[in-house]
Subunit: 388 residues, 4 copies
């Protein structure tokens, strides 16, 4: 397939933008041709030059880019929105308004209200939209999803999920960590810093693997670093539709932990465990037969899990490969749309606007519960209906 003409909003130096570019590079489906990388015109120019963007396609803001590119015969075919949280929805709406497909970084926004508005616009216009819950795109996560979905574990009873990292164990937002500074500002990051930044990844992972929706949460959010304005630790008890129970833990003060995203799912017949720090293995455990270790690349994995494998059996892949799966699948959706055919049904490793909305509802419910002395608060699509 020929390369997609692609642009980026945000993604300047020292941001997650580089990761998006590497992920887009890997399979060779994207060519970065336009962008607005910073609101600072100097930084924007420097970055554009470094990335080989011609001056006429380096824009001062996303509105200008959306307007100009939509008029070019060789205009962009898709755009990645990699700005701070509070501009996600406005930027996405701007591109959707010009029928330009969007890849949006998570969380989808800063409130369920604006997220629902975006979701409705996506649905109404039928424009492809992806949210980069990249961890759910790991091949062994897809296998976990398959194992649960095919009934291998039996009915699910317990889900334990966590995203722990240590890198914000001190007051880094006051020590020059610009990546975290805006995340620690509720006005930009939304109602919960820890849940917006990493908790929603755990939330989406848990929904992806189990196929279950939350019913309610009972939460305790805390700010454990002196001087911090934002929350940085979230303990959440979970109840799922259908009766399963669980716990979610998200923490930025887990001193010494790298990127500790882990999920364990316990069913009536078996359980599974996946940990992103060793992402190529999936532990499958039983009461009545020996435990198993499934590995990325094994020929008996499901088709979804195989689709994400680019190398020989036994070779480890990592974070970039998973992230690249999102870009590869989105490219397939765009290619199919262009060709007037249905996309490969396996090309679904990315999250939808609805997933994003449910993530925002989860955050808001947890915040409310924490404020209300741990009271159980509805946290699933029953609330989506209510808000609608």
């Amino acid at each position: 397939m020929s390369k997609l003409r692609w642009a980026m909003v945000g993604g300047g130096p020292n941001s997650i933008g580089r990761t998006h570019r590497l992920a887009a590079n890997l399979d060779g489906h994207y060519e970065l041709v336009a962008g607005v990388f910073s609101r600072d015109s100097g930084k924007n120019a420097t970055m554009g030059k470094e990335l080989g963007i011609t001056e006429d396609r380096l824009y001062p803001n996303f509105e200008a880019m959306a307007a100009a590119e939509s008029k070019r015969p060789d205009g962009i075919e898709c755009v990645s929105v990699i700005t701070p949280n509070n501009t996600h929805v406005p930027a996405c709406l701007a591109f959707l308004g010009h029928a330009i497909p969007v890849i949006c970084d998570k969380p989808i926004g800063v409130s369920s209200i604006e997220a629902i508005r975006l979701m409705r616009e996506v649905d109404r216009r039928g424009i492809p939209f992806a949210l980069t819950h990249n961890y759910s795109a790991y091949t062994m996560v897809r296998e976990a999803q398959h194992l649960v979905g095919s009934g291998r574990l039996g009915k699910i009873r317990v889900v334990q999920v966590e995203y722990a990292l240590g890198s914000r164990s001190s007051l880094v937002e006051a020590q020059g960590d610009t990546r975290f500074a805006w995340r620690a500002d509720p006005a930009i990051a939304g109602p919960s810093t820890v849940l917006g930044d990493i908790g929603t990844h755990a939330h989406h992972l848990m929904r992806t693997v189990t196929g279950l929706e939350l019913e309610a949460v009972s939460a305790d959010l805390g700010s454990l670093v002196a001087g911090r304005k934002a929350d940085d630790n979230a303990n959440v008890n979970l109840r799922f539709v259908g009766g399963a129970r669980g716990q979610l833990w998200a923490s930025m003060v887990a001193c010494g932990i790298g990127q500790g995203l882990r999920i364990r799912v316990f069913g009536e017949q078996a359980s599974l465990e996946w940990h992103q720090e060793h992402p190529n293995e999936l532990n499958l455990r039983f009461e009545n037969q020996p435990n198993q270790v499934l590995r990325r690349g094994d020929p008996w994995l499901c088709e979804r899990a195989k689709r994400g494998v680019r190398t020989n059996r036994g070779q480890p892949e990592g974070y970039l490969s998973a992230f690249a799966n999102v870009y590869r699948d989105f490219a397939e959706v765009l290619a199919a749309r262009k060709a007037g055919r249905a996309p490969d049904p396996l090309a679904d490793s990315f999250a939808s606007a609805r997933d994003g909305v449910l993530g925002m509802i989860f955050i808001e419910a947890a915040v409310e519960s924490s404020r209300r002395n741990g009271a159980w608060v509805e946290a699933g699509d029953q609330r989506l209906g209510a808000t609608a």
Copy 2:
């Protein structure tokens, strides 16, 4: 030291009694000379014979044993109480009433009221008493305790503790699992089966390692196996005195997990992790220097951790060695008492009656919180004062 004359209440076939006997054997400090192993006189006789108990010291019940042995010149010097939970306190009181030191299996009883009565009796009479929270006696748990206590982790912010096992994933109490049958009966096991059986181990482990006391809990207890009368899964959010937060998870339906007792403690400077399925290692993690793996037997461990090491550096020890530490330390306390000297201050690997009381308070608080929609309920010694 000469062997202690020792007796057992409970501990019949297919019970934890065998473990107590192996643990007592290891260091050679105990000789089993009397017992009441079952209320069934036939089983009692068979067990007594198998264990080499002479007929005159095989008793029909603990009251008879306490009375008779206290009158013999060669009467027992200590007794282990290994009965179902609801007879722990009465049995312990019977022996304490005759000034016989007691090793009691956990949990200490079935209510904080009776536990407090027992604690007061222990304190009033000054008789040695131990509760077998055997997991806290692992050498690497003692090292973890030392690391936290000496400030190596800095102020503690987050504690994540869990005890997961899969062996009650089906309705085993109806399928001939007599060991679980009484545990699944609240009348015998107390207000929470899952917390009484395994949750208190997690609770004591967490208090031992961190030195912190609970302030309050917000809990969700559930019974996840169809037909089960008892709870089998507990999700508990924790708040500690001094501001630390945490989660405790105890589950008997963690399909495929053996004895998954694990603790992670996160401080301002470092964190640690210990897992009883690999009990000879302790992971110590930092933001500002390389992570470390401490191993049982390493010469730089603290004195408490070294005390429990019986073999060459690098040789793995397991559950029985930890359990034996409790018996060895209790023997030292009795030997010191006999000799009129202070015991080795490191011989403290066993839990006290007060620890048992706090365990019961924790259980009762969690049950109450779960009933009250997740409301935070006091769960520490402030409640001990209140009840007192």
Copy 3:
């Protein structure tokens, strides 16, 4: 069963004697009643007193003990020989000469000649004899043996075995390490220090698990610490009867390794891996189905593996439990002999005199090959015939 009257030769302070005593204690089958713990009469007296040996049964040397005990009506029923290597055979012969069963520490001696003499005496007189290759007595090693024996792996092609430890990485024999001082003296330890001390454990483990006998070895022994008289590192290529190939590595200079005994066996259908630092797990791997992790205590293990389990499923056991299996099984053999019945056929976790002879042949062949520029030297029972 009543306790066996048991004695010890060697096993003084700071020796492996304590481990033998703990192992003998665990199941309660032995009572230490006599001994000669040191050639130094003062140390001997101190140790005897500490262990509760009455003065009349504390002997100045093994000859005296063998003679005296064999005449007592309550004489010892078995003895453990835990002296330096060069006195193993003389001591064993002394006790066998008085029809006293012997548990002998490994290696069996210092030459195949004397080992064969001992083996013949054992065979001729029909006295129970055990060599403490304790690592082969781990329950998961017995399961590994079962898996290979039952054909689960198919025909064996490759065997990789190693015993690495770091504790002799510096010249400890000159720094007060008395335990190693005699081991570093070829006159006492035999022709190869590293193979005698740890290599024979690897050799016996490999024979136990695979059921294969060595055909020939090509070896490179080295002394890698400046000033050391003994070898401390052995690299050995292996050829087995039937065509399998392999490597054995034994090293005392593996800086930072605790007790790194590990075996991997590769067959036509599957492979297995066991590591004594995590002894409760056995990895079973396949090309055509998911890898498995078998765990001590799992109900589907073979009877031999189950026999060594003393605790609940999922509880880790360690080095002492494995060592105790040797003592427990030897007690069963003696009990059966006394009762005139066949012993439990599963009570075979200990090595025989013949195993000891093959261990000596292996050492001598490796030493010879190393001297002969790596030439392949016969190293199995073909050589036993030749020497006979």
Copy 4:
């Protein structure tokens, strides 16, 4: 930097070519503009089309491509040679003859004679040349290299290295595995299949990490699958210049192992272990202080190790990232050459022609030793001199 015009020889469907393309894609420095992907003109055409090569730059053979491209003003700036082993040297020479820089897959060829010829040509003409020993380009391998080089381990005593995989455990070359068919043919693959295919990776890894050169080898090569013409298992004892000893094991019949490349290096002060199945960790072990686990991305790693990190601290990377390091560093060398400046001295993650020559010498020495009953055969650059 602008993209390099890049071509490929070999790398057709179902080959390692895809991996080279993904690796070249990742950092965006290469644009594939020409190629000869197969000697089968149909397959060549299909592949060229799929990869977007214009018809005029799709060539029937490498000679034609070298000649034609060197004449174009927009001719290729570098080429990757990914053919079977016996055409590596001729193809490389063809491009070098036209002053076109070459990335060559390993092993460098099929004999040390031709490899030396190639090395001399590279040296004589000063054209950039890289051999894709991609495993040595992992960031944690670079850290291992740094730790040894900076003396952290002290003088090296023992090196244990292995590359085990299970995928050729059955006679796959007769069952349609075309990727292995030519490797199992000595006429194409060279004197040792197992050493050429995977043993040279282990050899290069060991030289990279330790900085030591081999002195001699004593080897046992075997063919363990019935019907196989090629060797598939190699046991090699190693002696290094300076006195270190070691073992290398390379096996294609390690049933159930994925890509088991592992190295352990033991020095006087410390040891390290790296395993490519968990490539983001490096274990560092000591006798006199706690063991450490170093992780990719940690800020205290050496500059070489940091250079290969593209993602946030704690995110795992894998095989493709390491492979991409080779392409990225080669691009930097070419860019510097073009700009007339010295390349970044850290851009050296690729192997040289000399490394390739030493790999061939190692193979030939092992084959000779195996034929000569395990005799020690010189295997280092002393032999390079001799052959020269």
